[in-house]
Symmetry: C2
Subunit: 398 residues, 2 copies
């Protein structure tokens, strides 16, 4: 057993991950299924939307000028020569004094340039005039063929999906969803379905990590619990086919901490030990080009190390922002927030009456500190705490 010789700086670890991990390749998808995915290309419309002039109202397609002068007092009889239905249209042209009954969305018949609303022809006679162009959706008024719809990097909205489909885009290239292998180690952990014994405890980190990966729009693959045996861990790591690997527990330098040595054997471990609290035993390695995150077994450390290093990386793999996924507010501190210079602190806080109250907790094992907290404040490495009254940025968990 020995301590960490030296600890990496948080900023250096983030820089390493930024340099080494790039977005995954794009995959082609039917636009109906791209909601919330990240666009990997510029998309232009292959056609005009709408592709033809169409009625924007139910009523009568007419030549607008024919209705000039029509009013309640001087109703104008309409000479209706047919009907234009959505999807069908009316085969012939509308001549002077003629009208075609038309439904919203139906193609405008040739010759007509306006739609007299149904309300303005209650008994088949026009009681109002309608100027040319009125109540008509002109071809290409929404989008012109060739016009750019979206730029790369866009996180696609529900209406974007609608527009891509309406424009007849057949295939959209979006970033592939990252697959993330989750490995939990610890001989004290109860396997799923197992019967609790005296010192055998439930694994909280696996389910928590699954939720975090889902939040960051990754797909997780859970592996069986590794019981602190190097050969077992090596075997599980060799089964991993995802784009990133999370390993919970066994990341420290104790006798049971076989994770660092196995990761070094199969790849590299440039970071082991980080100047932060909690999560100082965390590590970052690479196996076959894929990032591997060594997350301490203590649940708060696990959450914190995930959020600092794994979360941004998984989001970046999917083409998303590495930025914190939490809403931020800036508020004054109700009390002094104590910290130690030389390490980054992850301080859980509550927001009470518009002021930030640090939760007085010690130990990385107090998971309830993160459920009672409204969020957290990051204390920069050079600070020896932050004075009461200072404004701090709170990252809100909800």
């Amino acid at each position: 057993m020995r301590g960490f010789r030296s600890r990496a700086e948080v900023a250096d670890v983030l820089r390493l991950l930024q340099e080494r991990v790039k977005p995954l390749p794009a995959i082609p998808l039917d636009p109906a299924f791209v909601y919330s995915l990240v666009l990997a290309e510029r998309v232009a419309s292959p056609r005009d939307v709408p592709a033809f002039d169409r009625a924007a109202m139910d009523g009568y397609a007419v030549r607008g000028e024919d209705t000039f002068g029509a009013s309640e007092y001087s109703p104008l009889p309409l000479h209706v020569i047919g009907t234009s239905m959505p999807g069908a249209g009316f085969g012939a042209a509308v001549g002077p004094g003629e009208a075609v009954k038309i439904m919203t969305g139906a193609p405008m018949p040739e010759g007509a340039d306006a739609v007299l609303m149904a309300e303005d022809a209650p008994d088949g006679r026009a009681v109002a005039a309608v100027p040319p162009g009125k109540n008509v959706s002109k071809r290409a008024e929404d989008v012109r063929a060739g016009e750019a719809l979206f730029e790369p990097g866009r996180v696609l909205r529900p209406q974007d999906v609608g527009l891509l489909v309406a424009a007849g885009v057949e295939t959209v290239h979006v970033r592939r969803t990252p697959a993330v292998d989750i490995i939990v180690t610890g001989r004290e952990l109860l396997p799923p379905g197992g019967v609790p014994r005296e010192h055998i405890i439930a694994d909280a980190n696996g389910p928590m990590l699954c939720a975090l990966v889902a939040r960051d729009r990754g797909e997780y693959v859970e592996h069986p619990i590794v019981r602190d045996d190097a050969a077992d861990l090596r075997h599980v790591l060799e089964q991993c086919e995802g784009d990133a690997i999370l390993i919970s527990g066994g990341s420290s330098v104790g006798e049971e901490d076989i994770v660092p040595q196995v990761v070094r054997q199969l790849g590299e471990l440039p970071v082991h030990g980080i100047a932060m609290r909690p999560s100082s035993p965390a590590g970052v390695g690479f196996i076959g080009g894929r990032p591997v995150f060594l997350l301490p077994g203590n649940p708060v450390s696990c959450l914190c190390a995930y959020d600092f290093f794994a979360g941004p990386t998984i989001r970046a793999l999917g083409g998303r922002s590495r930025d914190w996924p939490y809403r931020r507010v800036e508020l004054p501190l109700a009390q002094k927030l104590t910290s130690e210079a030389g390490r980054v602190d992850y301080a859980r806080v509550r927001v009470v009456d518009g002021k930030v109250e640090p939760l007085m907790v010690s130990g990385a094992g107090i998971l309830s500190s993160t459920t009672r907290a409204d969020g957290f404040v990051i204390v920069a490495r050079d600070l020896e705490g932050i004075d009461a009254g200072s404004r701090v940025t709170v990252h809100l968990y909800d």
Copy 2:
């Protein structure tokens, strides 16, 4: 064909939905699978977390007082009598002058009250003193048996999942995820996989509604396109088994608008026609107690009517807030926002240099207005527009 006789007020429609639609019943789930769901009960911890005193560091379990006086200059030899491993522990007690090698998370042996860190005993001799209680996670320091963990209505976080599992909660009652039937009507619409013909257009609303329902944490069920035939629509409605029904298109009062009449036949349609723009032909009905939303076929109207009425209802069914799901900012208007008194307006806007610029678009058919916009401003029914410079609330799409 006739116009709407009278239009319901937006506020009245929302009140009706609030009165008639309540959260779905709770279902029991394994806590590992409750991330992002809504808690339907108060949950208390069935046990202490941790359930026993355990080491918070790798090192040596000792009686703290034995180490008093140990220092670099006066190292204290440790009489190591065994090892305590996670999940196992050490069977005997630690007596005066004795030590047990211990790993983080391992049970503290009887008699020991502190953990001397491995770093402080580099060659098996203590070079620092450790006070009693140091580096020990005390039983129940995280959560006490019987302590309340979460209150009803909580949207469960990743760490909540971890804590529920750690506390040994076996079953959690959460709100059931609402199932939403999506029905698209329109004889002009191309069925999936169909070949486009002259006036046959792609259905943009179906995929957009699927995305919206997914955003609001519902599960959607898509039905085949109804080709504006009453018997066909009735048949599809009879197949619906979800908790809410969305019907796109055919909601107006034209000859093709068979939706209102069929909904009235199968249930009731208290709202048809709403004083808003766009979406004025929208409607709200009930069939067998389930809310039915008549969404206009024009895509912006469809989006707007969904967001005003269907979205809040689907979220409420799932136990979530009916409030807008968009982030809000308050900013000054760059130009006057024109509107008409007597109806609620949904004005698409861009935010440029901290100012709100209304998008100059007419017509509910311009879906690209909602993809080019950063968000929207709701203009209250009594306003005749809002002056330049006034501060308005922008709901941001992203």
